[in-house]
Each structure stands twice: as structure tokens, then as C-alpha cells.
């Protein structure tokens, strides 16, 4: 009973005081809700960014990957010699090694003729370095001259490709070079590219006349089944030149994500936005708690005169902070859920509302409210019981 009373009584009084003034409560909830939505959106966009940044490597099928040391990310690669990749075939654990060519180029919308940049992947159609059934199925068509596959999940600005293809309108230009779209696949957009196109290595050279087959952007290595990936990686590391990076699949994903998180200013912008949401919410909640204590100063002083201890009021303030956090979080979560759906349907960004994110944001909001409480309790000193007479 006493343990319970220790927190229950001040919490109950905090609750009664909160619900007594409804209009102020609504204002307070709006403040927390605002911070909550801000943080949800920042985190959502950030995760979406990282998820989509890694959407290209996610479908890659290989055990080890080579990239130039200076390649910051797949969307802005530095080329290296194909012969460097082929040296790995000397290792007995290596089964196959395939070059991957990458380039950004404008694609002309078949309907509107407007050009927009997308990512072009060039590779040997028989290599199966992408884990996508559509590409496996279309590998014969891809071997023909001037054929490409188009990513159905590209942004809609490239045109309604599926219905255009069904209507037989499959000719367009990439980099001002005429190509036939012979099929669709599903990969997804990233912050670097609004769409994707896959083609054979030979067609890639036709689209990018200044590139040549011996300068590759990435090497995809497949090992014999059961080969120890990290051990082979270490062996290759000692054999290959300094200027190439060797990644396992997971390392490649992490490398791509880290680029967006750290190197690109975008990661910083979202981090900054999150912190700003926290600070703004903190100021709002602090302001609310502070004026609340000021308004209840006489009441608190009366209770102190009756024998209530300082700790009681500290618990009361923190209980208020907790209630505000919960009351603001619930509508904030619902609103954010709606905005996430809006972003997914309107902006084609993957924005899943994960449990981990819900918990993260709640803890974030809670820490914000607790911090506001910590700042506000100094105001309790103003409640002096001797002034009550």
C-alpha cells in the first residue's frame, strides 16, 4: 500500500489537475503531438532513405563484391580495371566473377518526351548476379541489341510503362540512344535514382559510348558453395591491389547505408531535424509544466504547509510529464501512421511503421518530457509554505 501510494497519490493529483483545465490540456497535447509527428517523420524519411539506398545491393546475388576505394556509394562509382577482378579467379574458392557497369542517364518519357535521370545497370545477362526472376526469364531478350528492362517501381514520371508496353509502345531513348524496352522488373527507387533500367554489358556500352568493357564499376564474386566467406575475403585482400575494397554482402549493405547516414549531408539533415523536433517539444512541454507549477504555486505551498514533502511535488511534476508524453504520443502516432501511408502512396517511399520505430519515438518523447520535468522542478522552490498565512 505504501509503495503504491508513494507514486500513486502524486500521480493521481497530477492527473486531476491536468484534466481540470481542458483547454490547457489540449494545448499541451498538441505540443507533444507536434514534436511526436516531427520525430516520426524525420525517422521515417531517414529509414526510408537508408532502405531505398540499399535497394540496389539488396537484390544482388553474390558472396563478395569489389569496388574502387574511392567509390563512395554505388550511385557514384569510380571505375577500375576488369583485369583486377579477374585475378580473383586464381583463388580456388572462387566459382565465378562478373563485372557490373553502373551509370546515371536520362530516359525519355515515351508519352511526354520529358527526360529524367535513372540508374542503368549493365551486366552479362547469363551471369544471374541479380536475384530477380524477371531478369532470369528475360536473359535471352537482353542479349539482343538495344534491349533493356525497366523497373516497374520507378517513379511515375517516367510514364505508365506497363500500359505503354501492352500497347506496343516500347521504343524510347536513354542518353539519347534509342532502345527497346522488352520487359519489366521490380526493384524500387532510391534517393540517388528515381528509376532503374537493366541491360546487357554490350548494350550498356552502346548507351554510354565513352565507356568500355575493361573499365568496370563493381565486381560480383560467387564462391563455391560452403566456402568460408570471411576467410576467402582475407585471402583476396592480400592478393588484390590496395585501391579496391572487398565487401561481403552485409558489408556492402552497411557501406551503402553509412554513405547516406554519414557522408551525404542528407543523413545529417534528418538527424538535425530529429534533434530539432526534440528541442521544440522540450521547450513546449517545459513551458507548460513551468506555468502549471507557477499557477499551482499556492496550492503546492498549502500542501507543503500541511506536511507534504518536496519529493511529492517532484513526483507530481514527473507524473504530469509522463501523462503528457502518453497523451501526446497516441494521437501523434495515429497522425504519423496516416502520413506514412500518404508518403508511401504519393511519394513511393517505403515507410513501414515498425514496432522498433514506435518504441524509439515513444522513448524519445518520454525523454523529452522527463527532461522538461527536470528543468521545471526548480520552479517548485517558489512554493513557500510560510507565505500562505
Amino acid at each position: 500500500m505504501n509503495k503504491l501510494a508513494w507514486f500513486y497519490f502524486p500521480a493521481r493529483l497530477a492527473w486531476r489537475q491536468l484534466i481540470f483545465d481542458r483547454s490547457k490540456l489540449v494545448a499541451a497535447i498538441c505540443g507533444v503531438l507536434f514534436a511526436c509527428v516531427l520525430v516520426f517523420m524525420q525517422l521515417g524519411f531517414k529509414d526510408s532513405l537508408y532502405a531505398s539506398a540499399a535497394s540496389a545491393p539488396v537484390k544482388l546475388s553474390g558472396d563478395l563484391f569489389l569496388m574502387h576505394k574511392q567509390s563512395e556509394a554505388m550511385w557514384r562509382p569510380i571505375q577500375f580495371k576488369r583485369s583486377e577482378l579477374m585475378r580473383v579467379l586464381g583463388n580456388p574458392a572462387v566459382a565465378e566473377a562478373y563485372p557490373l557497369y553502373l551509370g546515371l542517364a536520362p530516359l525519355k518519357n515515351i508519352k511526354t518526351q520529358v527526360k529524367r535521370t535513372l540508374m542503368v545497370y549493365g551486366f552479362d545477362p547469363d551471369s544471374l548476379i541479380f536475384n530477380l526472376d524477371e531478369i532470369k526469364n528475360k536473359r535471352h531478350e537482353l542479349r539482343l541489341k538495344d534491349t533493356v528492362l525497366f523497373d516497374e517501381y520507378s517513379r511515375p514520371e517516367f510514364g505508365p510503362m506497363r500500359s505503354l508496353l501492352e500497347a506496343g509502345r516500347n521504343v524510347t531513348e536513354i542518353n539519347d540512344y534509342k532502345v527497346n524496352i522488352v520487359g519489366l522488373f521490380r526493384l524500387g527507387v532510391s534517393f540517388a535514382a528515381d528509376g532503374n533500367v537493366m541491360t546487357s554489358d554490350l548494350n550498356f556500352m552502346r548507351i554510354f559510348p565513352r565507356r568500355n568493357l575493361s573499365e568496370i564499376d563493381m565486381g560480383v564474386i560467387k564462391l563455391h558453395p560452403g566456402a568460408p566467406v570471411q576467410q576467402v575475403k582475407a585471402e583476396l585482400r592480400s592478393q588484390l591491389n590496395e585501391f579496391v575494397n572487398i565487401f561481403s554482402y552485409e558489408e556492402l549493405l552497411k557501406y551503402e547505408k553509412d554513405y547516406w547516414a554519414n557522408t551525404a549531408p542528407i543523413g545529417f539533415i534528418f538527424g538535425f531535424g530529429t534533434v530539432m523536433g526534440w528541442v521544440v517539444g522540450l521547450v513546449i512541454v517545459y513551458q507548460i509544466l513551468f506555468t502549471d507549477i507557477a499557477n499551482h504555486r499556492n496550492e503546492f505551498a498549502t500542501l507543503k504547509a500541511m506536511g507534504y514533502e518536496h519529493g511529492y511535488f517532484v513526483r507530481l511534476v514527473f507524473a504530469s510529464a509522463f501523462f503528457l508524453a502518453v497523451l501526446g504520443f497516441i494521437p501523434g502516432y495515429v497522425l504519423s501512421l496516416g502520413l506514412y501511408h500518404l508518403a508511401e502512396s504519393q511519394m513511393y517511399m517505403p515507410m513501414p511503421m515498425l514496432w522498433s520505430k514506435i518504441i524509439t519515438v515513444f522513448l524519445f518523447i518520454l525523454s523529452m518530457c522527463v527532461m522538461a520535468g527536470l528543468l521545471a522542478i526548480r520552479k517548485l522552490k517558489d512554493a513557500n509554505p510560510a507565505d500562505m498565512f
Binding site: A5, Q17, N298, G307, P385, M388
Partner: protein, 225 residues
């Protein structure tokens, strides 16, 4: 009868150094169990200051102030808090919590660390409110009660914990003549029933007749007992 309040040679001043302003000078006063003592005196004579020291709300450093056998001179915060819990207060303003109903306000006295159940607290608070004639106003908020009713709620709040001492500072100041007198007579009746000592500051000469004893304070000195 044993003394519940025993003050000897109490000196108190506000400020320090050259700005020191003596307010209470060599006060000696003893109040027995169940005794009703009124303090009167001109404005600024130190009546409120005296009350706050006895109530453990203000720290004094010279002399002796024993409240229920606890020495309050140079005492720790804990000792003062303990003293406060054993005393019932009635303020000039009612000082009720405006977000709580009359019943909840009275219950606040009982919520301090004793082992009653919620139901027992409700029952005792309701009894106290019935005793002050507010049995039909249990769930009213302060905003819905008149001044006299509010002061009666605060009397119930002071009495419900069955304190041995009640301190009241001009409890009738915000009331008209009639309800002021009624409130104080009620206080007297209930206090006599439970043998509670009352120390009451007032300017209101109409209520002097409720007292067992009247003490007059002038310039920090007790003039007549």
C-alpha cells in the same frame, strides 16, 4: 493538563546585518491540550510570523519552541515536516485545490503516509464534511461553493486528521459577520469534542468570546495574557 505548545524566550528577526528587523521579542507562551487561545494585536505586530514558526513553516534560531514535545528551534526539515503533519491549518483564504472536489480536498490530509484504505479515507472525509454541514456538497468543486462554505471545507480539512493543534490565521477575514461567527463557533465545537488546541489570530473582536484565553501582541511583545 500537559502543554501541546510550549514557547520560551523566543526571539525572531527578519533580515540580517544592519537591516535586521526584530519582529518577536522574548515571547513565552504555553498552550494546554484542548485550549482555545486567540491572538490579537495591531497590524505588523508579528502575529502571523509567530504562527508560522509554531507551525514549522519558518525557521527560528533563538529561544525554545516545543510543539508536541518536538523542538523546532534550529530543527531539520524532517522535524518541521513531521510537525506540520500533526497540525491542522486554516488559512485566511480557503486555499483549497481548485481541481479537486470538497471530498477530495479533505482527503488530501489523510493521503499523507497513513495506512487508511481509499474507502476509509472517503468515509472519514465525508464525516468531516457532514460535521461542518456540507454533507450535500461532497462532490462540489471550490468554484461552485460560497466563501463561507469554502472556509467550512477548510475547517473540515484541518480537523479530519484529528490533529492535536489547529493553527488559524484570520479565518473569518474573508467572510461576512454572520458566516464568520458561525465558522468559528463550529470550529470551537468540533475542537472541544476532540480536545484539540486552537491558536487563532484575529482582528475580529466579535469572536473573542469563543476563547479560553486572549493574548495581545504589540511590537513583538506579549502585552496581556
Amino acid at each position: 493538563m500537559p502543554a501541546v505548545i510550549d514557547v520560551e524566550h523566543l526571539d525572531f528577526s527578519f533580515g540580517s546585518g544592519a537591516l535586521t528587523q526584530p519582529v518577536l521579542k522574548d515571547i513565552t507562551l504555553s498552550i494546554r491540550k484542548g485550549e482555545i487561545v486567540l491572538i490579537t494585536g495591531p497590524s505588523g505586530s508579528g502575529k502571523t510570523t509567530f504562527l508560522t514558526i509554531i507551525g514549522g513553516l519558518r525557521q527560528a534560531f533563538h529561544g525554545s519552541v516545543k510543539v508536541l514535545d518536538q523542538q523546532l528551534i534550529n530543527s531539520s526539515e524532517q522535524v518541521k515536516v513531521k510537525a506540520r503533519q500533526q497540525i491542522g491549518y486554516i488559512f485566511q483564504q480557503h486555499n483549497l485545490l481548485k481541481s479537486l472536489s470538497a471530498l477530495q480536498n479533505v482527503s488530501m490530509t489523510l493521503e499523507m503516509g497513513n495506512a487508511l484504505t481509499e474507502q476509509q479515507r472517503r468515509d472519514r472525509s465525508a464525516e468531516a464534511l457532514i460535521a461542518v454541514g456540507l454533507g450535500d456538497r461532497l462532490d462540489y468543486k471550490p468554484g461552485q461553493l460560497s466563501g463561507g462554505q469554502l472556509q467550512r471545507v477548510s475547517i473540515a480539512r484541518a480537523l479530519v486528521g484529528q490533529p492535536k493543534i489547529i493553527l488559524a490565521d484570520e479565518p473569518t477575514a474573508s467572510l461576512d459577520k454572520q458566516s464568520g461567527y458561525e465558522a468559528v463557533s463550529l470550529l470551537k465545537r468540533l475542537a472541544k469534542e476532540s480536545q484539540t488546541a486552537i491558536l487563532l489570530v484575529t482582528h475580529d473582536y466579535r469572536i473573542l468570546d469563543i476563547a479560553d484565553r486572549v493574548v495581545e501582541l504589540e511590537d513583538g511583545v506579549i502585552k496581556s495574557v
